[in-house]
């Protein structure tokens, strides 16, 4: 171990070697894939989020919904049976960040869009226990009271480079965070044919 004798006495050599060791896996599993097209696919039917949907996604992020709900259906028989078509890489091109989650306390939401009418979502967010007495989901009635800030949402659309019209931003006036969240729910998974 005479080579290591040198390393143990030279912090620069130690630091350089440790950096190289750390960079090997970093480059091959994280950096290199970034430059491959398979990491950036986009389904034909996939559209950027509208201003209202993005506002809803912001609420979804802010409330930490992804801690209890995943957004990725695995290609497993019972999972497809429960939720629908398994998730495709090309569905998430506009997701910054991805919201696949890591825990299913509640059901997966990747195919929730169009599954229930808007009215169902409004009532369910307000009081989940009214539908499922044994649900442990918090009540989100306060979202009905909170008005959207069109200027802020416009800034978010700009930051992401999503297309929008002045009318679309105007139309946000008077809408609530609940409206936005429901709009976001209803678009989830709609790029994939059922």
């Amino acid at each position: 171990m005479s080579l290591h004798h040198v390393i143990e006495r030279n912090p620069v050599v130690l630091a350089v070697l440790a950096t190289l060791a750390v960079l090997a896996g970093t480059i091959i599993t994280m950096l290199y894939p970034m430059f491959r097209p398979e990491m950036h696919p986009k389904l034909e039917g996939l559209k950027p989020f509208t201003a209202l949907q993005l506002a809803g996604r912001d609420v979804y992020q802010r409330e930490g919904c992804f801690y209890c709900h995943t957004q990725t259906v695995r290609p497993l028989k019972t999972e497809v049976l429960r939720y629908g078509e398994y998730s495709k890489a090309g569905e998430f091109a506009y997701d910054r960040p991805f919201l696949w989650g890591s825990k299913r306390t509640g059901p997966d939401l990747a195919r929730i869009g169009g599954k229930y009418p808007d009215e169902w979502h409004y009532k369910h967010f307000e009081n989940p226990q009214a539908f499922f007495p044994q649900s442990n989901m918090p009540k989100y009635a306060f979202l009905k009271e909170r008005k959207l800030d069109p200027q802020q949402i416009e800034a978010h659309m700009k930051a992401l480079g999503f297309p929008y019209t002045k009318e679309e931003i105007e139309a946000l006036k008077g809408k609530t965070e609940m409206d936005a969240l429901v709009a976001y729910m209803q678009v989830l998974g709609t790029a994939v044919k059922k």
Binding site: E38, M39, R96, R104
Partner: protein
């Protein structure tokens, strides 16, 4: 004593500052943990908008990972570095400033998370202005660590210093890259990476946050304090070398095991699984080294109360590093991924391995710094058994309910249709979730014994010197 031969004094006040701060944030984090464990079975304890599960969970994980974990790492690493370099920190005032900024940053982080400012990336929730604060803190840390090592008075760097150097480098790379974001407001940003790519970067970061916050700095502590507290030298230097290099090399490849069966390209998943399996070897290198070190004189496990803290900690590390790779296998992942099983796994690592090692280090350091003995070995033993029982009960309960969740989600009727709806499966979790809260209370009582013991040790020492 050897240290009195040198004409200098170590700056222990900053070390103590970090330790007391980390204990404070630890208490906050554990109490919030208890609260959210109750929210799982009593949804009425959600107080919208600031105190719902979705917001408090981030305060729990960040409070403990950054407040307790990184706070303890800063303090204990400085202690180890000074001792192993046989000199005080190169920039003591910088370290003191780092202590103040650290506490301000953690407080602001907790408030911002309660307000819902989150990047929605697990363990990288903090929004971009706070990220800048974290990077500044880490640079201050790096300057002092490298500066002190470069000017050391002991030519050979002991194994703990290798782990510390690797920690400083790896965390910097991981944290900066994964937090690259497009700012969209003062407390709002969007990940620079999108979709599948965003997932791959996040879990490359997420798993290595475990590797370089919850593993390498804790191993640095283990390799330093186990020989110190038992008086037994590390069994094999060669095994330390092999374990160190293979660990820091292999860890970075494994993040994709968090994304098994997702749309991430299969080859990245498979590569991640293969390296995760390989990781058993370096992990167990340290486990074996730890066991054989104590194996030189098993009497120490009986006569020295601290030995069993270190032994149990490395045992949990050993179990953790076999369970983790097992979970990464596709067939196991298909059953337990997305269930409470993983929560049980994480808590064996954090409550078992990390917290046990950190408290053992503090038990060693506090009497040393105050030149006294621990207030009560009896209370330390009580602490030990309470946290052991609490942690085991926590993890085992979560493993059982996790398997149940996975199995019920997969259950089908003879005609091939699903047997249970999601709400039926949720309803079956309640007894386990309640048991988890009880386990958490037992663990917390154990930690209160620890805090009391440390408080009394310091108090007695101050009375004596007054």
């Amino acid at each position: 004593m050897a240290e009195e031969r040198f004409d200098y004094s170590y700056d222990y006040r900053t070390v103590l500052g970090f330790i007391y701060s980390s204990l404070f944030w630890g208490v906050v984090g554990i109490l919030i943990g208890l609260w959210i464990s109750i929210q799982m079975w009593l949804p009425e304890t959600n107080v919208a908008p600031y105190f719902t599960f979705g917001r408090l969970r981030a305060v729990h994980t960040n409070g403990l990972a950054f407040g307790l974990g990184v706070g303890a790492i800063f303090g204990i690493t400085y202690y180890i570095t000074m001792r192993l370099c046989k000199r005080p920190l190169l920039f003591p005032r910088l370290a003191r400033a780092q202590l103040y900024i650290f506490n301000i940053a953690i407080a602001l982080a907790a408030l911002s998370l309660l307000a819902g400012a989150t990047q929605s990336l697990e363990y990288a929730e903090l929004e971009w202005p706070l990220d800048i604060g974290v990077v500044i803190l880490w640079v201050m840390f790096a300057i002092n660590i490298f500066g002190t090592i470069f000017t050391r008075r002991e030519p050979q760097m002991y194994v703990s210093l290798w782990f510390i150097v690797a920690t400083v480098i790896a965390v910097a790379i991981l944290y900066i890259i994964n937090n690259l974001a497009i700012p969209a407001g003062w407390l709002k940003s969007y990940h620079l990476f999108a979709g599948v790519n965003s997932a791959n970067v996040e879990w490359w970061y997420g798993h290595n946050a475990v590797g370089f916050v919850f593993t390498t700095p804790i191993l640095a502590m283990f390799y330093y304090f186990l020989p110190k507290s038992t008086g037994l030298p590390i069994y094999s230097h060669r095994l330390s070398i092999i374990s160190f290099w293979s660990l820091v090399f292999a860890y970075l490849w494994t993040g994709a095991h968090h994304l098994v069966y997702t749309p991430l390209p299969d080859w990245i998943q498979t590569l991640g699984i293969v390296f995760t399996m390989f990781l058993i070897a370096p992990s167990w290198g340290s486990v074996i080294n730890g066991y054989y070190t104590v194996g030189q004189d098993w009497e120490k496990a009986k006569n020295n109360y601290l030995t069993k803290f270190f032994l149990l900690a490395i045992t949990f590390y050993g179990l953790q590093t076999v369970q983790g790779p097992t979970q990464s296998l596709r067939v196991v992942s298909s059953l337990i991924h997305y269930t409470d099983w993983v929560i049980g796994h994480v808590h064996m690592g954090t409550m078992g391995w990390v917290t046990l090692t950190v408290v053992a280090c503090i038990y060693y350091m506090i009497p040393k710094i105050y030149r006294t003995e621990i207030y009560s070995v009896k209370i330390a033993n009580l602490h030990f058994w309470f946290v052991l029982v609490g942690q085991l009960l926590f993890s085992i309960t979560m493993w059982i309910t996790g398997i149940q969740q996975g199995a019920l989600q997969k259950a089908v009727n003879p005609d091939g249709s699903l047997k249970y709806t999601m709400i039926e499966i949720i309803a079956k979790n309640y007894p386990y979730w309640q048991m988890r809260t009880i386990a958490g209370v037992i663990f917390t009582i154990g930690m209160l014994f620890f805090l009391y013991n440390i408080y009394m040790t310091v108090k007695k020492a101050k009375e004596k010197s007054a």
